[in-house]
């Protein structure tokens, strides 16, 4: 939805209460607003972070009962009672998210369903507090006209906050986790923290809508907070457009107004919902908003700047001879199969260390162990003397270790420049409040992140495609993008997992030139896992050869080339 679209909606929302005093229309408009707020919250969770909740009616209920009880039992004014309900929902949301988000997929669906059902039954059972099945009916409510403005204001705020979030480092981190959790963690992002944050935001917005619901109706009972309500919330989001900022508004309006227009078909309501859900999933993965708005994107010119200085301050303390990475006696086995045994590898703080070996020799396993994706069964991994074995991938990344993957994993939901911005920001996502409110500090940071990312893209020849979706890049460029993203974290150590695989001879020559340039300009220490012998022999300072999970030779390229053990491993003959 463009500027004109938003302006039209805003004008319509302002004119509506002036043009009609029909409470039915105003009540419908309020319902649209409430559904918009909940769906906007779910959009952060499902659209940005990629997790589905089937229990948000539970948070809606917490907001409604929190506000209702604060108003009736404690006598709080409505302007304080509604935020109280919202805070209650957010706190419970953070707790449920922290407990649930170690699992995903059907497991997460189960936890959220269970949460919703528990809330629903507690509301029924805890009669002394909640009034039981009869609910709470003496909430000091506003007139429908009086409810309109707070609800419309909150709905606008919810959309505005989610739009800000989407454009911030936090929003990019969420989308990165959704696209590729593994790659996001390699940049220092804790997927768990990101998801829990998204879950908390979505719970808070559901709670806000619940509080406003209580204020609009003056009456709440457990019937409004069932599993069906949770499904309806999700349906509104999916129908409007998952991940798009306007989606919740469109979906909220459609799902409130359609049943009203089709009152004659009340008996077919579930069929209507079910079919809408099917259509949303089938034909319109991006919902109505995605189907309507296909917009063009601008491209930035290629600047052709020289390679920007890497590690300008702080990190570059090691001198060339010092050992940056020390691997000793490293071993791991999977289900009884020994993948690596007693591997020893020393990587100095400068230069390129290659790890070669036949297929299945354990090279990628070695990278996965160093970067924390696998837990070693034996041995030590030290980074600048500090033991790092057993740490989580994002924790290792934060120590200055970056990597690429055998199959490049750009974040397909982000643009090219945003991919690199995720790397530049790394774990430093800034204040969440600033991201939501788009404060001046956040804006300044955004400009700096973007400038730095564009600089890196220019160096790697991707500037012209900066604003394109990463998903549209051809295979060779996906690899450059991944390298740019890894370099953006200003690593001390960069591990490249078969960067030449699938590249054309021209592209391999380019890779050669860029890695050489990186080394000569004082870039990070590089561990290069590669099959392409010409490249390895040309640019490596040292080579370690793995075979059947063991190091069979190590040393300068010329020495390794002559080693009988290496020749045997590659040719299968005794030399």
């Amino acid at each position: 939805m463009g500027r004109a679209g938003w302006a039209t909606v805003a004008v319509a929302a302002l004119l509506l209460p002036l043009s009609t005093s029909n409470t039915y229309y105003l009540y419908l408009a309020c319902s649209v607003g409430l559904l918009t707020i909940v769906a906007a919250g779910l959009n952060v969770l499902a659209g940005f972070a990629g997790q589905i909740s089937l229990g948000h009616a539970g948070f809606y209920a917490l907001g409604a009962y929190g506000a209702g009880l604060a108003a009736t039992r404690l006598g709080w004014p409505l302007w304080a009672a509604v935020p109280a309900g919202m805070v209650l929902a957010a706190i419970v949301g953070a707790a449920v998210g922290a407990a649930a988000l170690r699992v995903s997929g059907p497991y997460l669906a189960m936890v959220t369903i269970a949460f919703g059902i528990i809330v629903e039954h507690v509301l029924v059972e805890w009669v002394s507090l909640t009034g039981g099945p009869g609910g709470i009916f003496n909430i000091p409510k506003l007139t429908v006209g009086g409810s309109y403005w707070p609800i419309a204001g909150c709905a606008a705020a919810a959309l505005w906050l989610t739009a800000n979030l989407r454009a911030s480092a936090w929003g990019r981190a969420l989308l990165a986790v959704k696209s590729s959790e593994v790659a996001a963690e390699s940049l220092g992002i804790s997927a768990y923290l990101a998801r829990t944050t998204a879950f908390t935001i979505s719970a808070a917005l559901a709670g806000l809508a619940g509080g406003l619901f209580a204020l609009l109706n003056g009456y709440i009972s457990p019937d409004s907070f069932t599993l069906q309500a949770s499904i309806l919330f999700l349906l509104a989001l999916l129908f409007g457009g998952l991940g798009s900022v306007a989606g919740p508004l469109v979906g909220g309006a459609a799902l409130t107004l359609l049943p009203e227009l089709l009152t004659g078909l009340a008996d077919y309501r579930l069929i209507l919902y079910g079919s809408l859900l099917m259509v949303s999933i089938y034909g319109l993965p991006a919902g109505v908003v995605g189907a309507v708005g296909a917009r063009g994107r601008r491209s930035a010119p290629d600047t052709g700047l020289p390679l920007p200085a890497l590690s300008p301050e702080g990190r570059g303390v090691e001198t060339a001879g010092e050992v940056l990475l020390g691997v000793e006696g490293l071993g791991v086995s999977f289900g009884g199969v020994v993948a690596l045994a007693d591997v020893t590898l020393t990587v100095p703080a400068r230069g390129i260390t290659a790890v070669i070996g036949p297929n299945g020799a354990g090279k990628t396993t070695l990278i996965n162990l160093i970067t924390g994706y696998y837990r070693p069964g034996a041995g030590e991994i030290r980074l600048a003397g500090e033991p790092i074995a057993g740490r989580a991938p994002h924790a290792v990344a934060r120590l200055g270790v970056a990597r690429t993957f055998q199959t490049a994993q750009p974040f397909d939901d982000l643009s090219v420049v945003e991919n690199v911005m995720v790397g530049v920001a790394g774990a430093r996502l800034g204040a969440l409040g600033g991201a939501l409110l788009h404060g001046p500090g956040t804006r300044r940071r955004e400009r700096a992140l973007r400038a730095r990312a564009l600089q890196l893209l220019a160096v790697l020849g991707l500037a012209a495609r900066a604003e394109e979706p990463a998903a549209s890049l051809p295979a060779g460029l996906r690899r450059w993008l991944e390298i740019a993203r890894a370099l953006a974290t200003e690593p001390r150590l960069l591990l490249l997992d078969e960067p030449a695989a699938g590249l054309s001879p021209t592209e391999i020559a380019e890779l050669d030139a860029r890695l050489t340039a990186l080394r000569s300009q004082g870039g990070p220490a590089i561990v290069l896992v590669e099959h392409h012998m010409e490249l390895v022999m040309a640019i490596s300072d040292r080579i370690s050869v793995l075979d059947y999970g063991r190091v069979i030779a190590a040393g300068a390229p010329a020495t390794v080339r002559e080693s009988p053990a290496v020749i045997e491993a590659y040719l299968g003959l005794p030399a």
Binding site: A99, Y107, A114, I118, H121, V122, L234, I271, L277, F334
Partner: protein, 289 residues
Amino acid sequence: MLVQLLVTGLALGSMYGLVALGYHITWATSRTMNFSQGHAVMVGAVIAWALVVALGWPLPIGLLATLLALAVFGALIERVAVRPFFRASSPAWLLSTIACGIIAENVAQLLFGKDARAFPSALTQRPILVGGAGFYPQELLIPVVGLGLMALVQLFYHRTRYGRQLKAVAWNAEAAGLMGINVPRAVMASYALSALLAGVAGVLLAPLLNVAPTMGTIIGLKAFAVAIIGGLTSAPGIVLAGLGYGLLEAVVAGYVSTGAREIVGFALVILVLMVRPWGLLGAPPARRV
């Protein structure tokens, strides 16, 4: 009282296990499942009611026709709601199967009416009295049929040629495909079997619970809870978790309240997931980088 609760608990628990086994069967072959498995329970009960009670078909023929219809229902769900999203990383199948369930519930409402109807059975006419406890013969039949069926399913998987093929698909779909096994058809067969088991549960439970379009939702959710607690990848875990869940539920409902029953049951799922995310007997998935 306790004996009565134990009988009821075992009866319900074996049905949760049977329905939950349906989740396991499709999860194993395709890493997807029918989130509206509970609606298959309802469809089974409704069709059996229509054929046996309303049309007066003889019981054996009516039941056979019901099971056949359920297998077709399961295959249809697979074709419409799962296959288009097979192996998509998004949980689209999760939502599309929910959508199918919602539609099925509405169709049942339109054809059957909204009200619950009794499903008379010779086994619920007169309760058996043992000491102070009274229960229906149906409640004894249910766990016998339920556990028997679960054993049959295991035999099918381990001893028959087609069962082994399905197991091969579960183990490694790609390799199974290369060995000439028709993987899409195997997935569809697993959905048919899964719905059929749910339908059996519907038919068995109908005389005890009455038949209504809304009867499936909560059974399906509890069976899902059981599948998660036992471990989606473990059939024995699911059978045990089903019996355990049924017993726990009966005891809590008997000594506390029916509302507390749902609270305790679903709190248990969350607890299990926090302590053992892959279920009591399930295997954790390997992390792929």
